[in-house]
């Protein structure tokens, strides 16, 4: 088994020694333990240690993450990330469905804040309006209609004694594998990261133009702004490529007004540029999304009407079923 795993390139790419020393891995472990203690199905006495493990997990995860330039940026990311993750954990740990929905709404507020930190202001507001304003409220309506007493036995238990540790453990392993492969690939976690950190510490005094050659990420940002201009140059000079390919490129990429200005995601005029990209390059998808919404609306109405017909046809049978339940 171990031989097979070590032959796997994915397995070999994970820096196990660095992962064991990283606070991220221990944060995931502490989070798994806290979920085991807090999720429904556990005893009431496990609540206090579970909350302790949850706090430890949040602190460890915060320590394992990268540092920002300014204290303000770092504090805002930490607070929003802790709000998102902590209230998401509370949403799956609450015994009452109403409290779960409310904690999920709090988690959505944190997600909206994280979107705003990443130059996605429209998405931040839209997430809060659409999810917390519409979807969660509809969920709450259904809970209050369906479960008027607010609590039931099935909210306090889960699937048998073995299911919960297996599920939490496999989710933690999945998360650890993803972080352990993505981190080194980005050069954040592992030996490359420490080398980069020391290099950065020495370079820090040098002017900003002196980039490390391996730091392709910083360059990609600058490149993509100029990408549109390069593309138009290529299509206009048929000598480098054949006429047909140039014509093909011109057909597949319709000319948009002021494209290089549209393509950058940060800066002024966020909404205007988002709208112009959405309604020019993704117009077909917008129409398809509208059609999907219409189909879902009709489908939901059809489901409810069909159920009403069946219940009207056989009221006695439906009543018996409900008495059994």
């Amino acid at each position: 088994m171990t031989l097979m795993l070590s032959a796997n390139p994915l397995w070999a790419a994970i820096p196990w020694n660095d992962l064991i020393g990283s606070p991220l891995a221990w944060g995931v472990v502490a989070g798994a333990i806290s979920l085991l203690l807090l999720i429904p199905g556990s005893s009431q006495r496990a609540r206090t240690p579970g909350l302790g493990f949850a706090a430890a997990a949040l602190i460890l995860l915060g320590l394992g993450m990268g540092r920002a330039d300014s204290l303000g940026a770092q504090l805002s990311f930490w607070v929003l990330a802790a709000l998102t993750v902590g209230s998401a954990g509370a949403a799956i740990a609450m015994r009452s469905a109403v409290y779960s929905a409310i904690w999920f709404a709090v988690s959505l507020l944190g997600t909206g804040g994280l979107f705003c930190l990443q130059n996605a202001q429209f998405l931040g507001v839209a997430t809060v309006v659409v999810y917390a304003g519409a979807i969660v409220v509809t969920f709450l309506f259904v809970v209050m209609l369906a479960q008027p007493e607010g609590h039931d036995a099935y909210d306090r238990i889960s699937w048998g004694p073995l299911a919960k540790p297996v599920i939490v453990g496999s989710a933690a392993v999945l998360l650890g594998l993803v972080l352990g492969t993505v981190g080194p690939a980005l050069g954040v976690l592992g030996a490359k990261a420490t080398a980069k950190a020391t290099a950065k510490a020495t370079v820090k005094t040098a002017p900003e133009t002196a980039e490390t050659p391996s730091d392709s990420a910083a360059k990609s940002k600058a490149e993509s702004g100029a990408k549109a201009g390069v593309k138009t140059v290529v299509t206009e000079s048929p000598s480098t490529k054949g006429d047909e390919t140039a014509a093909g490129a011109a057909v597949t990429e319709p000319s948009l007004p002021n494209r290089s200005a549209i393509d950058t995601i940060d800066g002024r005029g966020h909404m205007a540029r988002l709208g112009s990209v959405l309604f020019s390059r993704h117009l077909l998808a917008v129409e398809l999304g509208g059609t999907l919404l219409l189909a879902a609306l009709v489908g939901a109405v059809a489901i409810v009407i069909q159920g009403r017909d069946e219940r009207a046809k056989q009221p006695a049978g439906a009543g018996e079923e409900r008495d059994n339940g």
Binding site: I39, S42, L145, D155, G325
Partner: protein
């Protein structure tokens, strides 16, 4: 942030944790409403990752995908709630374990062994404290409004 890759990794970590939490909740919880909340939580994790990738590549693609994820999530919520209400009308409870009645003949049923005690704070709904004074009631209107 100083390093765009480090910033990307931070957001990917948060998104991955949200996805894992939603996965755990979907598989562990038995209330159908909470299960669908957990499905939405997984979508949120994916959305955070997509926006982070879009920022990293300085590209609108991530945000565009998240907009369409919002659309699909709204459709999903509408249909899921209609289905949950249908199932509730048939079974009388939101427990997903009730639907093991659809299993094949000869399969053993899953039976709960022990149900833990209910805590006091779980027995009550979240309520608002009443404010202002109680309005005077008209007995004639009360006749027409028997159930308010």
């Amino acid at each position: 942030m100083a390093d765009p890759a480090a910033e990307l990794f931070n957001y990917l970590t948060v998104g991955g944790i949200l996805f894992a939490l939603g996965l755990i909740g979907f598989l562990v919880r038995r209330n159908m409403i909470v299960m669908f909340l957990c499905a939405e939580m997984m979508l949120q994790g994916i959305s955070i990752s997509l926006v982070a990738w879009g920022k990293y590549h300085a590209n609108w693609g991530g945000q565009m995908l998240v907009i369409f994820i919002l659309t699909v999530a709204a459709c999903e919520a509408a249909i899921a709630l209609a289905l949950v209400l249908m199932l509730f009308h048939r079974s009388g409870k939101l427990d997903i374990a009730f639907w093991q009645e659809m299993r094949e003949d000869g399969q053993p049923a899953y039976v709960d062994r022990e149900i833990p005690e209910e805590r006091e704070e779980d027995k009550v709904w979240p309520t608002l404290t009443p404010a202002g004074r109680l309005p005077s009631r008209d007995p004639e209107i009360d006749l027409h409004r028997s159930r308010v």
